[in-house]
Symmetry: C2
DNA sequence: CTGTTAGCGCCTTCAG
DNA sequence: CTGAAGGCGCTAACAG
């Protein structure tokens, strides 16, 4: 097969141990990083031999020995979703800096699939795992963490687990979004979408309620349109609202997809536009006729933080002390979101 | 550490060899699939023991022995791009069916990064690789393939390699897109965007030219705005076009991002809209004021085909005969694209 | 400073 | 039908 450490050893006239030493001792690899005592001329001979033979270190084999594969697994709910892919991009950036590789899988927003994928990945001897849980149940996640797998959650949080997490200030963001609408003079404000199995949705709803409460508004329950995080959910909710005697003047959309569904429905129905304040932002937000405010998340930043976090935990684990679950730092990082007023072009 | 085959063997009162046999012999795993002679009651004892101990097969270790890790690597130019993520989704679906796991990495559209990532992944002992090349040079790709790595290209093609590929009918799609504009009566049609290092861009340009030629139009070279595949490229090109004495009446955008840039520019400049026919389609296409036609690619389908293809090659390789590069079937699969007329809402 | 010796967890002849 | 033994490619003591 491929050329191995043995071939290099033979060609350089040294033992495999020596080859291994120069390979890991002098590498910029974060795993070793320490200077290993190998005579300079021996070292050069080895390096030469390796280059001539086109030798490449086999990480799988090394992993078997060192119990570390320099890979971390990422389990996301969907791949074809800008938001999660920005998160993934951030994670990859950070991992890459430290020489880690990212293994990615999608849970398709199903807890069952998630379980399967998580196990599959764990079987691949990954060093750690970053996950956006698809449900309210985190038993399988917690179980893995308890077995010693470094883990961090990103975006969505499962309460009752002891894992670290990186997410956005969902509550605060929605609070501000709602307040912006209020100070524009709107009072009949609907809240649209939100799968309450996701922490993000719950937190956003909570921010909305608080803003209304603080403003002393008594809320019309028929304006609470919970359920769903997808485009068609927004569409359906909007359709229902339009059929009511007294539709809202403004609305808060739980996320971008729901926001888009609403916009699309308004188009189709040729409805008089209510104003929308939507969580998430996209470069095409200005194209959306009803869009007035957006809450921009730093998805890439979230990914990066999650990446840093998992690396910390992996290192801490290797250094000896447990899974790092017991660290005293704040366990949940919440990144601020930025409220923007959409430039009202071409209404 | 984790429970191993040894523990299971001990608990079941058999040898590790026997455990291994039931594990791989009876598994639905495509690797083995063959019946191995183990007495039914022994088999059950082993299975029992494994379950009790919560045993999980270590794929890394197995890989070392079998030279097969049941993982395939996917190298894409960007992660935060709907199109490529749909492709990835398709790949994952197909791989998953056969028990393979997907390792993903992004080349950031840089050949240098691509090289690094490709090698990194190869060092992880992946069974095969699917790649969307970032450049015109495919030496590193071809080299890997020659070393026996099953590989297939997706979306973009590097000529001069002997690899299989799955892509869209870029030429035909753009041809039709252009023809649609022509039959609407437009004659001054610009072609905007297109990194000629990418086969997709070259093919699309070629389809455009053919349509014009067949219609007997003599083309104004100032309407050829080559370069770039990103939003800002579309923006800049449009800006330039608007400053010319005689801007186009219609335009073909090389892809979605460029299309969006154009739209955005038109908005900002409050320009009288030319009509756009754009390669790629999105659910928000109807929101784009200038959009008249789209060419929808089946990205998920492309991914699936690529997934199937790589699995075939991996199997063929294992079955004995080389890399499968020499198969007689058509090497390049081109999926048809669908031309749609955008419903002209709210202009 | 360097070579020898054991494995990491699993699979696979080769004998029974 | 099953067990013993050797090895995949690499690293980690332990001796020199």
């Amino acid at each position: 097969m491929s050329t191995t450490i043995k071939d290099v050893a033979y060609k350089a006239g040294v033992s495999t141990a020596t080859v291994s030493r120069v390979l890991s001792g002098y590498s910029t690899d974060p795993i070793g990083g320490v200077f290993r005592p190998v005579a300079e001329k021996t070292r050069l001979r080895v390096i030469d031999a390796a280059n001539n033979l086109g030798y490449r270190l086999n990480y799988t084999a090394r992993g078997l020995k060192t119990q570390s594969t320099m890979t971390v697994a990422v389990v996301l709910p969907e791949l074809s979703n800008d938001f999660f892919m920005d998160v993934a991009e951030g994670i990859e950036q950070e991992l890459n800096i430290c020489g880690y590789t990212m293994l990615i899988a999608s849970s398709l927003n199903s807890v069952e699939e998630e379980k399967k994928r998580v196990l599959m990945l764990a079987d691949r001897m990954v060093d750690g795992m970053i996950i956006t849980p698809s449900g309210t149940l985190g038993d399988h996640i917690q179980a893995l963490a308890d077995r010693g797998m470094p883990m961090v959650m990103v975006d969505r949080i499962v309460e009752g687990t002891s894992l670290d997490a990186v997410t956005s200030d969902n509550e605060g963001g929605t609070f501000q979004l709602t307040k912006a609408l209020l100070s524009d003079g709107f009072t009949r404000i609907a809240f649209v979408g939100g799968e309450i199995t996701y922490s993000t949705a719950r937190e956003r709803l909570s921010g909305f309620s608080r803003a209304l409460a603080e403003a002393g508004i008594k809320f019309d329950p028929s304006l609470l349109c919970l359920g769903g995080m997808e485009m068609h959910d927004g569409y359906e909710h909007m359709k229902n609202l339009l059929q009511k005697p007294n539709p809202p003047e403004a609305m808060v959309a739980v996320n971008l997809l729901v926001h888009l569904g609403i916009e699309r429905c308004l188009l189709d129905m040729k409805a008089k536009y209510p104003v929308i304040a939507g969580f998430d932002e996209a470069w095409f937000s200005p194209f959306l006729p009803a869009c007035r405010y957006t809450a921009a998340q730093d998805a890439v930043g979230m990914g990066r933080r999650a990446g840093q976090r998992i690396i910390e935990k992996i290192r801490k684990k290797r250094a000896g002390n447990g899974t790092g679950t017991e660290n005293s730092e704040e366990r949940i990082i919440r990144l601020p979101v930025k409220i923007n007023r959409t430039v009202p072009v071409m209404r």
